[in-house]
Structure formats: structure tokens, C-alpha cells
């Protein structure tokens, strides 16, 4: 199976996709977290490469990026760490475009493949601008995950048809972060996708607990949980593993029921 098929195959049941910021508070903790999440029912893992100016993030992940960067985390160290991880589930990297572009897109993509990364999510690289990166990801067989938002409207068919692996459905306006209530148009977004494509839809932005995750999983094929996990990492630092494990298990169990 190539990377795109491998990612897609994880949606044979409702998928749980946790996000953690690489290097928060250090890469050894990130390595342990990847193993723990894989053992706790995660189907895919998103690792954020910390960026100085994460404009799509709310305060929780922004603070994690600052902790990781001040701890000396770099993309080279993240590649090195991922190389040493032995998990069966696909690993995705989430980062802004400049850390890719500034590093050299071709070299970045090569290093992704060499370290066992299956796909990339780049929130500030919209569909219209992605060709210059896609040139390299196509060549290397790396999945470039597309995103749609509640405001996408007429853009959805074009984006959905061209998506690979799965489609990241941004649940709400604004930035990442837990929300007590998630906007109601997920069903409409997924419906618009279904009209043109059978690509799996995973919902992210705002999912804060198991109850919400369960609710979202009724409408979508997968649930992405970021800030809620990063909050636990912020609270417990290096000692976060058992707490993240407990939280991840609760989500994985409930959405797969």
C-alpha cells in the first residue's frame, strides 16, 4: 500500500486522530506520546512542527509551539525522532508553509519519506496555491491532506474531488481550540463532499471531550483531537503520558462503539 492508501485504510472504522505538538515539552516526551497514543486506539497521529507564528492556532497550541521552540526543537530533530519510532499507524506532519518552504520543499518532502512520515497538513497552503508543493509530494508519494471550512461553500466540490487520504473538515470559524459547542453545519459540509466524492471526512477544530467526539463521529468518518490533548501536555509536562493515555482511550473507545 502506498501512503495515500495506507491513510485511507485507517478509516475502515471511525478513526481517532490525535494531534500533539512535536517537542512539547521535549522530543523524548513526544516519542513516548506517539507510542502511547498508538497503543491507546489512535488510527493516525498528527505531529505539529512548532512555528513562530501559527496564525491558525488558538492560544493552547500557540503556547505549545512556544514551549517547543524555546526547548530547542527543530524540524531536523523531529525527523530524527520519528525515524526512531516504531508504530504501525501512519504519522502525519502538520505545519505552516514557511517551515517547509524555508527548509527547502524538496528536501523537506524527502526527509518526510525517509523518516517514515505518510502525509502533510499545511493549514496556510490553500488548494489554490498547493501546486508548487504537490509537485514534490506527488513525486515522493506523500499525501497532501486538503482542508475545507464552514465558509468553503462552492469550493468544496473541487477540493473534495482532488483530496487524497482523507479530507480535513474544519468544524468552526476561527482558530484551533476547545469549544463548548461546535457549529451545526458539519452535516452539510460532509453532505456536500459526499455528492462528489467518497473520500473519508475527519472533523477537527474544537473537539474537547469524549462526548463531543462521539457526537462528531456520527456525522464524520474520523475525529481530530488537538488542543484538548495539548492542554494535558501543558498541565503535566514530562509527566503527561498516563493522563494523555487515559484521555485518548476514552475517546478511542467511545467513537468506535
Amino acid at each position: 500500500m502506498n501512503n495515500i492508501e495506507k491513510i485511507r485504510a485507517t478509516f475502515s472504522h471511525k478513526a481517532f486522530i490525535p494531534f500533539i505538538t512535536g517537542g512539547d515539552p521535549d522530543l523524548e516526551t513526544t516519542r513516548k506520546l506517539i507510542n502511547t497514543l498508538a497503543e491507546s486506539g489512535a488510527d493516525l497521529i498528527e505531529i505539529g512542527i512548532p512555528f513562530s507564528d501559527p496564525v491558525a492556532e488558538g492560544p493552547v497550541i500557540e503556547a505549545a509551539d512556544e514551549r517547543a521552540l524555546s526547548g530547542g526543537c527543530t524540524v531536523d530533530k523531529i525527523f530524527e525522532m520519528i525515524k526512531g519510532v516504531d508504530v504501525k499507524i501512519p504519522i502525519l506532519l502538520m505545519t505552516y508553509y514557511n517551515p517547509i518552504f524555508g527548509y527547502g520543499s524538496e528536501r523537506f518532502v524527502e526527509n518526510c519519506v525517509n523518516s517514515g512520515v505518510s502525509g502533510l497538513i499545511v493549514p496556510d497552503l490553500p488548494f489554490d496555491e498547493r501546486e508548487e508543493l504537490k509537485l514534490y509530494t506527488d513525486r515522493a508519494g506523500l499525501a497532501l491532506i486538503s482542508l475545507i471550512a464552514p465558509t468553503s461553500g462552492g469550493r468544496i466540490p473541487v477540493i473534495a474531488k482532488a483530496s487524497e487520504g482523507f479530507l480535513y473538515c474544519v468544524s468552526s470559524l476561527g482558530v484551533t481550540g476547545t469549544r463548548s459547542k461546535i457549529g451545526g453545519n458539519i452535516t452539510e459540509m460532509v453532505k456536500a463532499v459526499r455528492e462528489v466524492s467518497d473520500i473519508p471526512c475527519a472533523v477537527g477544530f474544537g473537539v474537547s471531550d469524549a462526548v463531543q467526539a462521539k457526537e462528531m463521529s456520527k456525522f464524520a468518518d474520523g475525529v481530530i483531537v488537538g488542543s484538548a490533548i495539548v492542554k494535558i501536555c501543558a498541565k503535566y509536562g514530562r509527566d503527561c503520558i498516563p493522563y494523555v493515555e487515559k484521555f485518548a482511550k476514552s475517546i478511542a473507545e467511545i467513537i468506535k462503539l
Binding site: F51, S52, D53, V55, A56, G58, P59, E62, E66, L69, T74, V75, D76, Y97, N98, P99, I100, F101, G102, Y103, P123, D124, L125, P126, F127, D128, E129, E131, L147, I148, A149, P150, T151, S152, G153, R155, V158, I159, V170, L173, G174, V175
Partner: protein
Amino acid sequence: MDKYGYFGEFGGRFIPETLMNAVIELDNAYNFYKNDGEFITELDLLLKNYAGRPSILYFAEKMTKDLDGAKIYLKREDLNHTGSHKINNVLGQALLAKKMGKTRLIAETGAGQHGVATATAAALMGMECLVFMGREDTVRQALNVYRMELLGAKVVPVDSGTATLKDAVNAAMREWAGRMSDTHYCLGSVMGPHPFPTIVRDFQSVIGREIKAEMLSREGKLPDAVIACVGGGSNAIGSFYEFTEDTDVVLIGCEAAGKGVNTPQNAATIANGRTGVFHGMKSIFCQDEYGQIAPVYSISAGLDYPGIGPEHAKLHTDGRASYVPVTDEEAVDAFEYLSRTEGIIPAIESAHAVAYTIKYAKTLTPDKTVVVTVSGRGDKDVASIARYRGLDLHE
């Protein structure tokens, strides 16, 4: 879907999907209204009757005599209502936003000039206004914070990152992504995703059009050089744009070199940056080897930005305009020089352009003419310059 808004290899729109339709809506609205007779008339009247345009082109005779070189003209954007060139763009965008049915303006500000202009336009047009300002800048420019509040705006201090202009832009982009149905992001410089660099340039290009017309009528020829300061680059592009095809006119942008281009404390993007993608655009940015945006520094809150607008990046790459670094020390000297020589206190941002003009004019013969854009007035900077000179003066 096609790529739009490129100046050579620079520009584009690199923003989260959530904002894509908002910028497309703005692009469509702008393309309609820029050719709409009623819109054009309304904006012209606002610029004339409210902002006080055309701004004066002042022959700086004492400065010219003192430097014994080229004839120096000052384009007095400092005399506009609200005290800077920022009003040109803001009136255009606020009117456009109003036509689009928006009731709320948000903006970022560094020195406070753009924030004050936006707060002013919002007051005039009966719109709600929210201005994001780096915490450090709210301290450096405390008087402007109160001024914006006086105009009815809410000022939000931004604590994240370096707590300066770039962080204020981040905060404004985040706010816009959360609320765009009634809100227009009134971006203050020729930066950000398409169509902002084009819209802001068009609204600011009145500066260069006036310079050209006035120079032709007074000198009977085009100026030999046009000089302006560059942060994001709005007053510079406004001054340059009319002359880009007139290749005999030398265009010079002055960027903030802080404590020196070879020190860690500067904001000289062209001198020290390289191509990257940030704040919605592909352009030139100060960044490290991993593409992390570098913390920058300048005495001037308005030039304290790690990037430059994409059209400037193209003018630089094409060699059409040149960009020179000016240090804090040189800018402060020029701030004092212009005050004493001509009785004009320039904004510390504009003083960067004045500083280079002082050096440059001396190298030219008296038959040459140089126009320097005084983008804003320096009242806001008096206290910080006093502190720079060691006086314990607070606003």
C-alpha cells in the same frame, strides 16, 4: 482554481481555507467598485474634504542649501488628517467595506498611525472598530492608544510572540477567521494575501500621482529620485508606483536597520531576509534556517516588521528600486535635523527616509531634484526620542 495576485514570483494568497472566500469576496467587490463612478466620486470627496488632499509638496530650501546638493522636496503626508499617509488607504477600505455591507472594522497597528486612521474612519462612517496592537507598542505609543479609544475604538494589546507589529497582524488574522460576515480586516500595508497588496497600493498611489503632477508643473520634469521609508511598504509603494515605468527616476526604500544590519537587532528585511511565505504572501522575510520568523527590532514601531510587501520584493529583485538600511541613530539624527532645519517634526518612520536623503542629496548636483515622502508627523515620537537622548520624559 487559479493563483491570483502575483508580482513576479511574489504575492499570492497563503491563508487558511476558512478565510479564502472572504478574500475572494473582497477581491470581487474591489474589482467592481474601483470602476464604479459613485465610489470613485465619494472617495475623491473624502480625500479632499476630510483628509485634506492633495498634500503639500514643500521645497525644503534651507535643507537644500545646507546640504549643497540636489534640490529637496518633501511630500507632506504628515499634514493629512490623522497625521500620516495611512488615512489614504483607510478611507478607501472603509468605504469599500461599507459598500460590501460590513459594519465592523478590525486592524493591526504598529506605531498606532494605521490604528488611529482606522478608528477615525470607523467613527466617521459609524462602524465598530477593534485595533490589535503589540503590548510593547502600546507602551511605546501610549498616547495613540488613548487617541484610538477617544475615537471610539477598542484597542486589544497583543502579548504573544514578540508583542509587536507582526503579532498584531497574527491576532487580527485570527479575529477575522472567526468573524467575517460583518467584519472587514482593514489591513494597513501593502502586504497580506491578495487582493490586499493591490488594494492598498492603489489607494496609496495618490501620493505618487500628486508628486508627478506637481513636479511637472513646478520643475517641468520628473524628479531624479523618490525616497520613502519601508516597513511593509505602503507609503513607499504609494510614492513609487506612478514612477515604476519612468526608469530614469531612481526609487529608494529605506528600511530600519535598528542597531545595525550586522547586529541581531534590526528589521532590515531586504538586507538580511530571504524568500518565504508568511502573513498570507510569498515575499522576503527575516527568518532562520528553519523558516521560523526572526524577532526584529527598530526604534520605530511602524517599521518593526520582519517582512516587506510582495511588490517591493519584485521591485527589488528586478532592480527597479533599491532598498537601503538606516540605523536608529541615523534616523534620530535626521528627526532632529529636520525639526531644527525646516521646523518640521517627522515621524520616526519617515525620519529613516530623511536620513538617507541627507546622505544621498549631497552626492548629487544642484540641477537634480529629490522627493522624500514624509509619511507622518512626529508628535507621537517626541517622548521616545527624548528618552533615546537620555531624558526621563514620559507622556
